[in-house]
Amino acid sequence: MYYHGTAAAVPFFCIGGVFVVKVNGEIIDASGKSIAELLEEMNFPDGRVAVELNETIVPRNTYSEKFLKDGDSVEIVRFVGGG
């Protein structure tokens, strides 16, 4: 399926043979999931987040179509009220 070379060269996204992505600095097994699925699983409230995928904003209307790949880096900013 994937070949990552020798153990020494294995990047962060392949740990123990499981392919993962980085979400808010934490490495998790979310490869293959859509942004919408990820937000739901992590209990982020609808309409109160901004999502950056590899330093690029993910347009809100593409959350269901955007699927995570091994090695992706996701930053989810959650907004709470007050100002």
């Binding site: 330093e55 347009p59 930053e75 709470v80 007050g82 100002g83």
Partner: protein, 213 residues
């Protein structure tokens, strides 16, 4: 009231002495938008006016209410006035040569791209979480050449040291503790809201004076 307002050159020189020539030149050529003029926005605007920003675009649709006085930079004699007018009156007293552009309007998905097109730095200073997310997503999706500073989490009386500025991407910064909203922590206390506003204002100053806009 003293009507002898100092000359433009005199005021500019005083700022140069305080801040440095290069700093002041960059500040005087910059334009910042402050979106929402509540506890965050009124404090951000005052900090930027004092720092000698050239153009300040202040946007809100609301009027000054008695419930605002616990944390927002308005006065009892301004109750009932539009916040844009009330704040502009204060800003002019601080920085008479700053170009103040008040817009008494509700920012929406539709009008944001046009209204904010002339601003270098955009400060999100709304109250409601959904509105914050709307503005941030809209700017990041449609105004990709802007610097954006947003706030999340300044309610309650938690430690001031939990409020921080985090850079998300090259042009997007978030200020706050990212946890304590009005739903979670209830109250909004002047000192803590001002700390978050100061984070936003300082980030704007740093972008303007150290960045490449």
């Amino acid at each position: 009231m003293n009507i002898n307002i100092p000359a433009k050159e005199e005021m500019y020189h005083a700022l140069e002495v305080r801040h440095g020539i290069d700093f002041q030149k960059k500040m005087s050529q910059a334009s910042a938008a402050v979106c929402g003029l509540g506890g965050l926005g009124s404090n951000i605007a005052i900090a930027l006016a004092r720092a000698g920003i050239g153009r300040l675009h202040i946007i809100d649709f609301d009027k000054v209410d008695i419930s605002n006085l616990n944390r927002q930079q308005y006065f009892t004699d301004q109750l009932g006035e539009f916040k844009t007018k009330a704040l502009a009156d204060t800003l002019i007293r601080i920085a008479p040569y700053c170009e103040i552009v008040p817009h008494c309007i509700k920012l929406t998905e539709e009008n944001i791209p046009e209204l904010l097109k002339d601003d270098d730095v955009i400060c999100e200073a709304f109250d409601l979480a959904e509105q914050k997310a709307m503005l941030v997503n809209c700017v990041l999706e449609k105004l990709t050449d802007k610097y954006l500073i947003a706030a999340s989490g300044m309610a309650g009386t938690g430690s001031a040291n939990l409020i921080k500025t985090r850079q998300i991407t090259k042009r997007f910064f978030i200020c706050g503790d990212e946890e304590n909203g009005t739903e979670e922590a209830g109250s909004l206390v002047s000192a803590r809201v001002m700390i978050c506003a100061a984070h936003e204002a300082l980030t704007a100053v740093r972008i303007i004076t150290e960045g490449n806009i």
